[in-house]
Structures are given as C-alpha cells and as structure tokens.
C-alpha cells in the first residue's frame, strides 16, 4: 500500500494574489508542494483592494447595508481568487479544483460579518485530494445552516486556513504574506528588529491584541485549541519564517520575545468616584451599551470612600466613550474626568516572565534612564505595558528593545541562558 501522503495547507493573503504574476507564483508554490509528495490545500483571500472596492460599491447604495447582504457581496472576492488560481494551476499542468465555503460545507453560526466556524466537511476536500487535485478553498467565508453565506471577520482567511488544517489533520499550515515572518518589534521604528524563529500562541495573542497586526487573534486561538503549528512566511522567498506553536521549554529562557507600541489609544480617567460596590460596573456597563471596547483598566483607591478609575480605549471609540462618561459622571458621584489622546502604550511580551523576576524592573529603569515618564502601568502574566507621552513613544520602544536585545537572535542575547 502506498505511504499516506502528508497534507499541507498554504494560505495566500490579498497582497499575495493581487496580480496575475502573483497568482502564478502562488500556483507554482502549491504545485511544488504537491510534486514534493504532499496533498495540498490552498486557502486564498480576495485580491488586493477588491474587498475595499466592494465595500465602496455597497456604501454608495446603502450607508448601513444589511450584514447578510454584505457577506453575500464580499464572499465573491475570494470566490474569484480561487477559481483564477485553479485555472493558473491547471495551465501549469496540475489538477486543481476551487471550492467556496458553501461547497466544502464550512458551517458557521449566523452572526454575519463575524461568524464563528462550527464544522467543516473534511470528506468533501479529501475526495478531491485523493483524486490528485490541489484543492483551493475560498478563505474568510462559510455558510450558516440555512445556506446563507457568512464571513468570518478580520483575519478570516487565516482562521479558515487554520481551521482547515485542524479538520484534515494537516502536517503543516503555512501562512504566506508579504513579510518574511514575525519580528521582535516593528522594524519601521526599531530598524534592527529581527525575525523570530518561533513564538508561542499565548505570546502572539498578546501581541495581536496590542495591534501588532501579524495575525488575527481568532486564528491563533484556533491553532492553540487544535494544535496546529502555524508557519508565517514570505510568498516572495524560500526562507523559513516564524513558527507559532505551543510553548516549549526553551522559550522560558527568553525573558522578552517581542515588544509592541500602540499609538491609536486614548486614556480616560474618572477622579474621585464614590467607592461603593457596583459603581465601576455601572460605568463599564454604560460603555458597553455605547459599543465602546475598553482595553486596560486601572483602579486606585484614594481614600476609604473615593477611588480613581482609568481606562484606555481605541481612538476610534474615543468620542463615544467621552460622551458616555460625561453622561454617567454624576450618577457615580465622580468629581472630575480627564481625557488624554497624546499617549502611547509600550509593551514587552514573553512567557519567560512567568518564571523570571526582574523584567518589570529592567523595563522601568530603561525608561527612567531615557528620561521617559511613565503615566501608568498594567501587566498580564506574560506582558508588561507602560503608557507614556506619545511624543516619546518611539524613543521608549527603541530603548526597551535595546535593553532586551531584540536586535539579536535569541541564542546571542546576553540574558538568555
């Protein structure tokens, strides 16, 4: 009996399929994997700016388009890419078949524009793989139980790829993109940033939630839940990229894996709030009602009766947040409210923090030495974040990166044992 073939999932994002030449390059990569003895599933996004164009078409007709119809519209972008890629692969002499979310029965819930995957019919894909086809699946889309087309929201094609890899028990899940992996920090600010070989799901989740924008959180959560090792790599080169995996012991020695900066933030402080049970809940319930998404929250007691409550929100939500706070102020006996939009949040992330003390201290003294004032601090188990003046944000990030030697490969850092 023939040896069971390995299964590879390759995901190509919008920029990697934007032109005919790029589709051909992606097609060649899929064929190379197939000729190398793999069964290959390709997941593709809509081409280049197509989704933006479709959204513009929609808004011209309806400033608030029904979400079901938006999904029906946007899903055509991926459908076009996958059929074109199947044509390209066939032109190069390999069998290929394209599949929509509906055709592979990628069943989701009915929450249009941010649906969650419930199940995928692996047999529909395997049938074609076993016939020797490269199967090209439209990312980002599924169908609910009534055959309405749904989409998975931001980063949805990554989620499709990881979910498919989990469903067919793929051996590898490659995410092709226009960068050659995930960097220790944003190279536009710290030009000596280096590519990470490996990062844990938890670390990348902290980075993603801070807006590092490499991969969307949901696809990472999927990978973590179903043990899919995700390989983020460049569609323009053969170099290994960054592996996103479960935590392995050697990661512990790396105090800080990466650092991020978030500038699209505003900070809101409520001063002298009556410190009685339910007051904080009241504030955040009103913000939730106004659809304001709150990031970090800091509450400090000023006296037995009074507390100060601060929190950060995305700048996009700032106007709504301010309006809500002004409305609620009196109800919670708040003496005053302050608003700051000139802040930046610098964060360092690393699973090593769990077992090593001193990381926070290294960060604070670095900022002190650089004469950067820390407005406030929040932490999670594997993250330390400081709010600083926006003007000093880049300088703060660079100082921190130097301290944690994020310009060197892991094995060359002085603090890594």
């Amino acid at each position: 009996m023939a040896k069971k073939k390995k299964i590879t999932v390759q995901k190509f994002g919008g920029t990697s399929v934007a032109t005919a030449e790029k589709i051909k390059a992606a097609a060649q990569r899929a064929i190379a994997a197939a000729r190398g003895g793999n069964q290959v599933i390709v997941v593709a996004s809509a081409r280049g700016k197509q989704t933006d164009h479709l959204i513009a078409d929609a808004l011209e007709l309806n400033p608030n388009p029904p979400k079901r119809e938006m999904d029906q519209l946007l899903s055509t972008g991926e459908q076009q890419t996958v059929s074109l890629m199947a044509m390209a692969i066939e032109a190069m002499g390999h069998k290929a078949i394209s599949m929509t979310g509906s055709q592979i029965k990628m069943v989701t819930d009915s929450v249009h524009t941010k649906a969650r995957i419930k199940s995928i019919d692996a047999n529909r894909i395997k049938k074609h793989l076993n016939k020797g086809c490269i199967v090209i699946v439209a990312g980002f889309q599924g169908v609910d139980e009534n055959e309405n087309i749904t989409t998975l929201g931001r980063g949805g094609s990554d989620t499709s790829a990881v979910a498919l890899a989990a469903t067919v028990k793929a051996d590898t899940c490659e995410i092709y993109t226009d960068v050659d992996g995930i960097y220790t920090t944003d190279p536009r600010i710290f030009k000596d940033a280096v590519k990470m070989e490996m990062i844990s799901y938890d670390e990348i989740l902290e980075m993603a939630s801070l807006g590092a924008g490499v991969m969307h959180g949901r696809s990472i959560e999927f990978g973590k839940k179903y043990n899919v090792v995700i390989h983020v790599r460049s569609s323009m080169s053969e170099k290994t990229g960054t592996l996103i995996t479960h935590e392995v012991p050697k990661m512990e020695g790396i105090l800080v894996s990466g650092a991020t900066i978030e500038k699209n933030l505003a900070k809101i402080s409520l001063i002298g709030v009556n410190n009685k049970p339910g007051n904080a809940a009241k504030i955040f319930a009103h913000l939730a009602q106004a659809k304001v998404s709150v990031n970090d929250i800091i509450q400090t007691e000023v006296s037995n009766e009074k507390a100060n409550i601060s929190f950060t929100v995305s700048k996009n939500d700032f106007a709504d947040a301010q309006k809500t706070v002004e409305e609620i102020k009196k109800k919670v006996n708040c003496q005053d409210a302050f608003y700051r939009q000139d802040i930046a949040e610098i964060s360092v992330i690393g699973v090593g923090m769990r077992t090593h003390c001193g990381v926070a201290n290294m960060m604070f003294s670095t900022l002190a030495k650089a004469k950067i004032n820390i407005d406030s601090i929040t932490t999670s188990e594997i993250r330390i974040s400081c709010l600083v003046d926006k003007d000093q944000g880049d300088k703060a990030l660079i100082s921190v990166c130097k301290t944690f030697e994020l310009d060197k490969p892991v094995e060359k850092r002085s603090y890594v044992k």
Copy 2:
C-alpha cells in the same frame, strides 16, 4: 382570508444595473410593483462589462480555462449585483433578500458554461416572498447535483427569469432592457422601424436564430413550453414594451411581423458532389466534428450523378469550415468548392405566411425592382430568407421593410385585414 397576491418577475440585464444610479432605478421599480400589491422576484445579470473583465482575468492565467472554474468565476458577477440590489431596496425601506442559484436550488445538468435547468425549489423563494421580501435572484447561474456552480450560457439570465416565472406560476415576467421593446427590424438600418406590441414565440425564435439579438432562443423556448408571457420593455420608461406570447388568431392577418439582416455569414458551395447516399451526411458529420455550426443548407441536383451542396456558417466558424471542406473534398468526389464572405441574409418572418400565399413573391419582386440579385433562397414555415451581396444588404432590408410596411403599426398596414 387575504386575497392571494399576484407574482411578478422582473429581470434586469447588465446595462440596467451598470451604475449605482441604475441599480437604484431598478430597485425603485421593484418596490413600486411590491407596493402595487405584487409579490416581486427580481432576476439580475452581472453589471455592465464585469463579465468581460472576469474573462480577461481568466485568459491572462489560462488561455483555455477549465469550464467548471470559469463558471465558478463568472457566477460572482451576478452574485455581486443581487446583493447590491438587496442593499439598495433595503435603503429605500422595503425588505429584500438576495439569492444565488445555489441558494434557490436552481439545479442544472453538469454541462458547464451552457447548463440546462432541471428544477428550481419554488418553496425557497416563496418562503421569503410570504415574509414580504422582494427576492433578488442571481440570473445566469445554477448548481449541478454535486453543488458545482454552473452557468446557462448566452442569454442565461433571461432563461433564469422565464424559468422562475414558470416555477412560481408568476402572473407576469418582465424583461427590462435598454430598448423599449422589440422592433419590426433593426432601426439602425431602417430608421422608421416600429415597436411591435406583440409577437409569437415561434416568430421571435426565428428572429433570434437569425441573430436579431433581442432575447436568446432558449429563454423563448422555455416561455413557450411553460406558457410564460414575456414582456420585453425599457428600464428607462413606463411605456408598455413588446409581449411575447402564444400565437393568437389576429396574428395571422399580419403577413410579416419583422425582418432581419445577418451580415456575419459566409457561404460555402461544393460543386459536383457525387450524388450517392451518405455523401451529404459525410460532409456535415465532418463539419460537426470540427465544431462548425451550419445554418441553412441548399442541395440541388445537377444531373443524375452530381449535386451542388451549399450552406452558410457564421464568419467565426469560417476558417474551420474551409479547412474541413478542403480535407473532405476528395472523399466525396467534389469537383470544386467556392467560398463567399461578402454576403448578407435578408429574412422576413411572420406566422401569417402559414395561411397566406404571395409573401415570397412580394419579397422577390421587391428585390428585383431594387435591382438586387438573389444568390439563393431558403424558407421555413414562417420565414423566407434571401442571400444577397453584402454591399446591397442594407438597401435590400429597407426595400423589404417598405413593402411589408414595417414602419407602421399593424392595424395601419394596407395588407392587414
């Protein structure tokens, strides 16, 4: 109990949905019908030149794209239109839902790019109609029994509309287009052509097969088979257009309903073919094998042993036809073959011919009076066609139109009783 509502099908072609303004106009028309007490099904084509653009994208990647993938690609055009139109209708305050061929289970055979409809699930549409939605269905597309997307070929959206009208037993089936109905002849050549109020399925079928290009033959056949009265009308006005119906008695008085000219023709003549059984079959079998579609055939005996065989083909097929004839010539003992590309075919069509003699004579003497030589003549029960020099084509058409008074409404023609 409430009175059962009438059901209206409205089909909008590519030019009628090309811009946001045109989509809004179509949406308004659908809403007007709904507010007038109808249940409304809209069938829409891909916007403007979109199908052409998608075909160009495909050919850039594969000069001979697999037909299944072509269907997967092209079907996105209609899907985009229907979701956009649903958004437009919702923006105007009426409930709407868009449906793909797959979502209404428009099941076809598996002949990609020219599939034939096998069944439609009327309940899927009626469910939404009964909820008060305008249902907007993607024309031109279906799915085969394995959920592969299929398309219906040229004029497919018309076929979708007529098939839907038949399935839901619609009271009217309106085909909106950029002309205000079907004219007695091409007004670009005979500027006094008038709009017909009514024409029979059989007549329009003869006109369609002659390239009059109003509606594709298959949709007419569907209408004829399932008794759907088709109303061809303008998307830019409220005027009644042309009704395509079963033959009614009063049509018999109209000797000639319309006249056509076809210039995209070539004529091939095989001279002195051995007149023995099977020779003609051999010729046309070879042409069929070369995928040449043969129009009219004329065979004349020259002697007991010899015959001349002539036929016309579309100019697009001429090169293939010529090659085939040159190959087959010796096998059928043909003495010579002649090729003409400088011809035009003038036809008059009318069910009245069945019961009235003299139409052929009127046509021939008209051409004689205009000093136009007739190369050859073919007829069907309701059609007479003459091949003439291409240079004289327009003049011939105009003369014939004048003779049969195709510049006048039916009731004002001198020969109509």
